[in-house]
């Protein structure tokens, strides 16, 4: 029973409390780049979650036999191979979306989130908890991507999954699309607002200040 709660915690912790994107600010490069529409955000989320879970599983299975000197290379080789396989599958079955994602699927290899989880967690845990942790982190990443992707598509085009939700002013409705939402800066704004909102609700996430402002001193004569 206790083991089960433990696994449940491993799975749900990264959703909000330990979210890899908003708390650890990992993997935001792709989070900014692929969230112009919900469809690409969802595809990217699924790809990353699959890669992360499988990589964590593989690394965890051979964790006792990875020589320390080459452990990063071994992990990156495993992650990169999985990414290539996923990319090939996307190109074969989801050609349209694969073109929209362009290089960002390939860049999952260098996503710090993936290496972070295999290095920090999978290397020290049994395959099941490692995969559950990886899956949870994948879900946490997906959650943020889908929220940002949804907001950007909704306000940028008035659509969700390519279906018109808000009637456009051009077509006789009332909604004027915010084209800023389709540009990269808006993802920064949304991500920043999201981090701010989560840290206001969960103040324990607020980081300690790295610097304290100097005390005000009297100007020298």
């Amino acid at each position: 029973m206790e083991k089960r709660t433990d696994l449940w915690g491993t799975l749900t912790d990264p959703l909000i409390r330990q979210n890899p994107v908003t708390l650890q600010i990992l993997g935001i490069c792709s989070a900014l780049a692929v969230t112009t529409t919900l469809a690409t955000a969802v595809t990217m989320s699924i790809s990353l979650t699959v890669v992360l879970t499988l990589a964590a599983g593989f690394v965890s299975v051979i964790r006792r036999h990875i020589p320390d000197t080459i452990r990063l290379i071994v992990q990156i080789v495993i992650v990169a191979s999985l990414v290539i396989v996923i990319d090939q599958i996307l190109q074969a079955y989801f050609a349209e979306i694969s073109r929209a994602l362009s290089v960002y699927v390939g860049l999952i290899t260098t996503n710090c989130l993936v290496l972070g989880r295999t290095e920090a967690f999978a290397r020290h845990h049994r395959p099941l908890p490692a995969m559950v942790d990886a899956f949870g982190n994948g879900l946490g990443y997906s959650l943020i991507l889908i929220v940002i992707g949804g907001l950007r598509e909704l306000f940028g085009k008035g659509e969700l999954f390519g279906i018109q939700v808000l009637p456009l002013a051009d077509a006789g409705g009332w909604f004027t699309p915010l084209s800023l939402m389709l540009l990269a800066p808006s993802a920064f704004f949304l991500l920043g607002l999201l981090v701010w909102a989560i840290r206001s609700l969960l103040p324990q996430q607020v980081e300690a200040r790295e610097h304290t402002p100097p005390l005000r001193t009297e100007p020298a004569e």
């Binding site: 051979i62 006792r64 036999h65 990875i66 020589p67 320390d68 000197t69 080459i70 290379i73 071994v74 080789v77 495993i78 990169a80 191979s81 999985l82 290539i84 396989v85 090939q88 599958i89 190109q91 074969a92 079955y93 050609a95 362009s102």
Partner: protein, 264 residues
């Protein structure tokens, strides 16, 4: 695991992680498994990807044809279909023994390729297939439009395009870039319709029959030029050379002559 392997395998696992033998063997095994995985996926999925690319090319051809002014009516008059012909580039006639279905097989035979020497090889291809599949639109007895697949060397690698020529075989009716690996934001703008829009109406040769087409550096001046893309000079030159090669004597030149003589 075979019984014979059992012992060495266990011995390997029992080695201390820091030993040199184990480091090398683990690295080798991981690479081997990953290589098998990647190659397996690539080989197994290649037919589907090829089919996808072919479908995409068909869609681009359709979009190219639709984008040419007056094409819709022309298509209706001709019964709504382009005819596909495999051309023997050596003599510019329809190939007798190769059909669109057997084209791939024919092109996998190195005997059906012609090596190009440095003087001929404007497009940087090295060799040229002897057969190519082109699309013709007939208006009565004459050809009113021909779609020619081109390939050449850009800045980042190979580029493929389809060029549409009007019935005079001198006026460009449109272009579609089907594949390229140019720099995103610079050379990759060749796939944008706003750039491709400067092609229709451009003429290839002057009155003396001299090939004059080129991608300008900057805005086009004259009827033989199309606008260049700022920051993508090498890509523009690649497009120029590609068009000049394929519409010249070593490319579709014989075919264009044959069409002008009314042989199609």
């Amino acid at each position: 695991m075979a019984a014979r392997n059992w012992n060495p395998w266990l011995r390997l696992l029992a080695l201390p992680n820091e030993s040199r033998t184990k480091t090398v063997l683990v690295a080798f095994l991981v690479s081997a498994v990953c290589a098998a995985l990647v190659s397996g996926a690539t080989v197994a999925l290649r037919p589907i990807q090829t089919a996808n690319r072919a479908a995409e090319e068909q869609a681009r051809i359709a979009a190219l044809v639709e984008g040419i002014p007056g094409m819709a009516t022309l298509l209706e008059q001709s019964g709504g279909a382009l005819s596909t012909v495999v051309i023997n580039l050596r003599d510019g006639r329809a190939a007798a023994d190769v059909t669109p279905a057997t084209l791939d097989a024919a092109l996998s035979d190195p005997g059906n390729w012609t090596a190009l020497d440095a003087g001929q090889d404007l497009a940087g291809l090295g060799q040229r297939p002897d057969y190519a599949q082109v699309f013709l639109l007939r208006d009565g007895d004459s050809v009113s439009l021909v779609l020619l697949p081109l390939s050449g060397q850009g800045y980042g690698g190979r580029m493929d395009a389809i060029l549409a020529l009007r019935g005079d075989m001198n006026t460009i009716a449109g272009i579609a870039v089907t594949q390229h690996s140019e720099t995103p934001g610079l050379g990759a703008r060749i796939e944008e319709t706003s750039w491709q829009a400067s092609f229709p109406g451009t003429e290839l040769r002057d009155d003396g029959g001299e090939m004059r087409f080129r991608v300008a550096r900057g805005p086009a001046s004259g009827v033989h030029e199309v606008d260049g893309i700022t920051g993508a000079t090498r890509t523009g030159r690649g497009v120029t050379q590609m068009v000049r090669f394929w519409l010249g004597p070593d490319g579709y030149g014989p075919l264009l002559d044959a069409i002008e003589r009314g042989e199609f």
